[in-house]
């Protein structure tokens, strides 16, 4: 039997070899803004753990390098990822001197490179397995549960990002709440306004180009400018419209951020509604008319179900985009995870930046996986109908 090399595996094995042998595994700093000292795997971990990690990495690297079944590759990559995740926590406890609360240990380039390489391997294996949408959501749930378990057991408590979290636990959850409210709330508003607007554009020819052109223009305004420009009109409304201030409309804060995100969200929702309705087969519409359906019945029973996957694609774009854009809301006092990112940039404290950036990326990623799976489910349901 001859061993054949997997082309992607060669890339992955090369990154892992570099990350394990040449790049630092963890960075040790005497306090949070000092520059760090790099530590390799064997320096960063207690004796047994370093050897164990190198062993697991070697096995997983070889499993990726040669042609193996997708399930084996997935298992190997997952084992390597778990080992990396658990042992970086062990390294943090090991490197921090007893009773020292100023020292900071954070993952270094070697750790991130290996994490990237094995995540790539896992993504490749998952792609090759061609999981069903529900299985993909299941896989996401397993990953979330594993991370939650590691956090709950305190496996990462020694890491600098969690020390930053420990100092700000209350404000972290408050900002998380604001972030999610901003992203989801503006999406909900965009759906409520955008879908009827899309239907209108679909039915009224002259309206379509005008509405889509205006919404296209809105997209070209840089987000920080749009946030800023809404301060004035909303401030004016708060002062001059009775009751507006009472429901939270103010010049700075969440209101302009909410409105800006809403405006950015409209284009994908409206455009995808128009495209989705436009793609409904003429025959389906004719049949519905022939059966004597009213315009309203046709819309809800024929057009919407058939256009649903396309509309959902627009919603996915908006949700992922909003989760990212909400980080900028902090510039106008809107809160969200951006608070930590910009505080961190200001203090050149990278752990604090990570405390804001990692949850944002994780949220966006989870939203993308869940909605992609939902879109696929909707397409199948449609295939069953049509």
């Amino acid at each position: 039997m001859t061993l054949r090399l997997d082309k992607l595996g060669v890339v992955i094995a090369a990154i892992v070899a570099y990350g394990a042998l040449a790049a630092p595994f963890a960075t040790f700093r005497a306090n949070r803004i000092m520059s760090g000292e790099a530590r390799g795997i064997l320096e960063a971990l207690p004796g047994w753990a370093g050897v164990l990690l190198l062993f697991i990495l070697a096995i997983a690297g070889i499993a990726a390098l040669i042609k193996t079944p997708a399930l084996v590759r997935l298992g190997a990559a997952a084992a390597a990822l778990v080992a990396l995740a658990v042992l970086i926590g062990v390294a943090a406890l090991h490197l921090t001197p007893e009773g020292n609360s100023f020292a900071r240990v954070s993952p270094a380039s070697g750790f991130w490179l290996m994490l990237f390489a094995f995540a790539l391997a896992a993504a490749d294996a998952l792609t090759r397995l061609q999981l069903t949408p529900l299985a993909r959501i299941g896989a996401l749930a397993i990953v979330v549960a594993a991370i939650w378990l590691l956090l709950a057991l305190g496996g990462w408590d020694g890491l600098s990002i969690l020390k930053e979290y420990a100092n700000r636990a209350d404000s972290f959850w408050a900002e998380a709440g604001k972030h999610v409210t901003l992203a989801l709330g503006s999406l909900a508003a965009a759906i409520v306004v955008g879908i009827p607007l899309g239907v209108l554009c679909h039915r009224v020819d002259g309206l379509r180009d005008a509405v889509l052109n205006v919404l296209n223009m809105v997209q070209t305004i840089p987000s920080i400018a749009l946030f800023g420009l809404l301060i004035a009109p909303l401030g004016w409304i708060a002062l001059n419209v009775p009751g507006a201030a009472a429901i939270g409309i103010r010049g700075i804060g969440t209101a302009p951020a909410f409105v800006a995100l809403f405006l950015y969200s409209l284009l994908p929702v409206v455009a995808n509604t128009v495209v989705g309705l436009g793609g409904v087969p003429r025959a389906a519409n004719d049949a519905a008319r022939g059966m004597g359906m009213t315009d309203g019945q046709r819309l809800f029973k024929v057009e919407f179900p058939l256009a649903f996957p396309v509309i959902l694609t627009g919603i996915r774009i908006v949700l992922v985009q909003n989760i990212g854009l909400a980080t900028i809301a902090v510039l106008i006092g809107g809160g969200g995870f951006g608070v930590f990112v910009f505080q961190g940039i200001g203090q050149t404290a990278m752990d604090l930046v990570l405390l804001g950036a990692v949850p944002t990326v994780a949220l966006a990623f989870a939203a993308a996986v869940i909605l992609d799976a939902t879109i696929e489910l909707a397409e199948r349901a449609k295939g069953g109908v049509a």
Partner: protein, 248 residues
């Protein structure tokens, strides 16, 4: 004859834009009502012209790098040698889009420091995705008879790529470039939060000093630039599509 009005509007926008960037003082009366307490109505902490040029430079550099890498990757994964990478590259493109620009920017700072570099990296990464996706679409939806004919007349793989496949895919690739440039123009303003010299400086100065006139100036210049560049690239795309006889 319906074409002259939009063209005229664009010309007016271009003239106004250039005039504003070069001689912003002429427009002071327009912006004056937006300021309070006698704050300056026109950005006075630097030249709008040089900021605009630097803004465009950063976007152009990042986009050029993104075009080279994205098209090369798309060519690689559509050859028999790289076919193994095709499904993975698709899912990577999907995952990549979930990274918020602010996060990319903030995470690039420790690696390369403050200034233009983190902005270039973020714009490059963001620019890659639309161009790659469109190049992939362009190269995988070529009309089969044409490709077969090219093979039939004895063209080598390289000749087919350069003389048939790339020219035919060009309009679709250009559409990706257009999308990427428009996104980059707006995203580059965020680079000013990590001290890159872009038009974002004007907006951020306005946000911090509560000066709406600055915010509007910065936002308007970027938006008009984006619309004009978008239209110019659309025209280029139509030209390329006409040359290949392929409808976009």
């Amino acid at each position: 004859m319906r074409l002259w009005l939009p063209t005229l509007l664009r010309l007016v926008a271009l003239v106004l834009l250039v005039a504003f960037i070069v001689e912003p003082q002429w427009f002071e009366p327009i912006f004056k009502p937006l300021t309070e307490n006698n704050a300056p109505a026109i950005y006075n902490q630097g030249s709008l012209l040089s900021l605009t040029v630097q803004h465009l430079q950063i976007v152009a550099l990042a986009t050029l790098a993104a075009i080279v890498v994205a098209v090369a990757l798309a060519i690689l994964v559509t050859r028999p040698f790289g076919a193994e990478f095709l499904p993975l590259s698709r899912s990577l493109v999907n995952i990549g889009q979930t990274f918020p620009p602010v996060a990319v920017l903030a995470l690039a700072v420790p690696a390369v420091g403050f200034g233009e570099k983190p902005t270039l990296i973020a714009l490059f990464l963001y620019g890659l995705l639309p161009i790659f996706e469109n190049s992939l679409t362009g190269l995988t939806t070529l009309p089969q008879p044409v490709v077969e004919a090219a093979r039939g007349v004895g063209m080598t793989g390289w000749q087919r790529l350069m003389k048939v496949e790339l020219p035919l895919a060009l309009p679709v690739i250009l559409a990706g470039v257009r999308l990427s440039v428009v996104i980059s123009l707006a995203t580059a303003t965020i680079g000013s939060t990590v001290a890159a010299k872009t038009l974002g400086e004007v907006i951020i100065a306005g946000l911090f000093s509560n000066n709406l006139a600055f915010v509007l100036q910065g936002g308007l210049i970027v938006a008009v630039l984006a619309v004009l560049i978008h239209d110019a690239l659309s025209a280029l795309e139509r030209f390329a599509a006409r040359r290949t006889g392929r409808a976009v």
